[in-house]
């Protein structure tokens, strides 16, 4: 699942930085019909978790009310150099992940 996870490359310790997420996913509502008239089953990314420096820093429980190709921005305190990882799963059980590194200067 194509995705972009963007964090600043560098930050000072204690600085509050933005984390931006963009994932390619139809977030199918379950209310649409295909060209043959059949109902398209709901399929949304229902759980997304971000971890950094051994902590869960953000959790999203989403429904069909989130727009397709979900775009999320949240914040975290830059504490230690390392990876910010993102994991998510949709209604079909398909998992995705992304990772980005941040260098934290004291």
């Amino acid at each position: 699942m194509p995705a972009r996870l963007l964090v600043p490359e560098r930050a000072r310790a204690g600085e509050v930085v933005a984390v931006r997420v963009l994932i390619q996913h139809p977030m199918e509502t379950g209310f649409s019909h295909d060209m043959a008239g059949a109902l398209i089953a709901r399929n949304v990314i229902h759980t997304l978790v971000a971890r950094y420096a051994g902590q869960e820093i953000f959790r999203a429980e989403m429904g069909s009310g989130i727009a397709a190709n979900p775009l999320l921005q949240f914040w975290t305190i830059a504490r230690a150099s390392g990876a910010i990882t993102l994991e998510w799963v949709d209604d079909r059980g398909v998992r995705g992940s992304a990772s980005a590194s941040i260098v934290v200067e004291p």
Binding site: A3, L6, Q24, P26, N69, L71
Partner: protein, 277 residues
Amino acid sequence: MRAGARGIWRWHWLMAGCIAVPFGASVQAEPAERLLPLAAVRPAARFSSADLRALQARDDANPAMLWVAQGQALWRTPAGAGASCAGCHGDAAVSMRGVAARYPALELSTDPAAIAPARLLNLEGRINQCRSRHQGLAPWPAESQPLLGISAYVAMQSRGQPLQVSVDAAIQPYWERGRALYLQRSGQMNLACTHCHDRHWGDKLLGETISQGHGNGYPAYRLEWQGLGSLQRRLRACQSGIRAEMLPFGSPALVELELFLAWRAGTLAVETPAVRR
């Protein structure tokens, strides 16, 4: 007496005009009168909300970049018996710079004695021609993910470059058919493109501001599509909007219309991948 004097001056201006016009016409080869004067051409940003402009301005927020990233990966992927795109074209940022700004264009014939008229190709058509002629692969279907990704990636290499579609003698007949389609009333609403996009650009239609209908941002991410789509998809949507039969994807008529639109947009810069309603 004064009226007579004005009349003499008017006659002088008329004579001056009659002499000037033939000279003017030989210096500037404009195929026809522009219903949308070049000075009045405005990019889509003029008719877009701040939100859409902000999404397009930032590559880290523009959802279209998800498709562009796939196109970039495809560019380097070896395909079938042949090399990858990169195998022949190298770094797209170098080799594809300015390319999209020149399309649609006539295909170069490989047969010097060819009798059949050359095909007019848009960028997608040219990419697919490369696939079949040089990679020995079946062309990608219209609006398929790979074709959208590659065409968005290639067109993006011309981002910021002014459109440079030249209407010379060879391409003139295609341009004229494109123009005829642009001016043709059709559909239940019996409207032509010109009625909204030349006469009423800037006016409101429900909550939306009518744009000038330029195609310089395509392939683009449309909120309505919840995804990336080509200019042909947008033109078909317009046809659907006026309740006309949609021309099939890849039809020569649609490519000719694309050509006319590119000419009509003057030197607007390529904006691919844009974000639209």
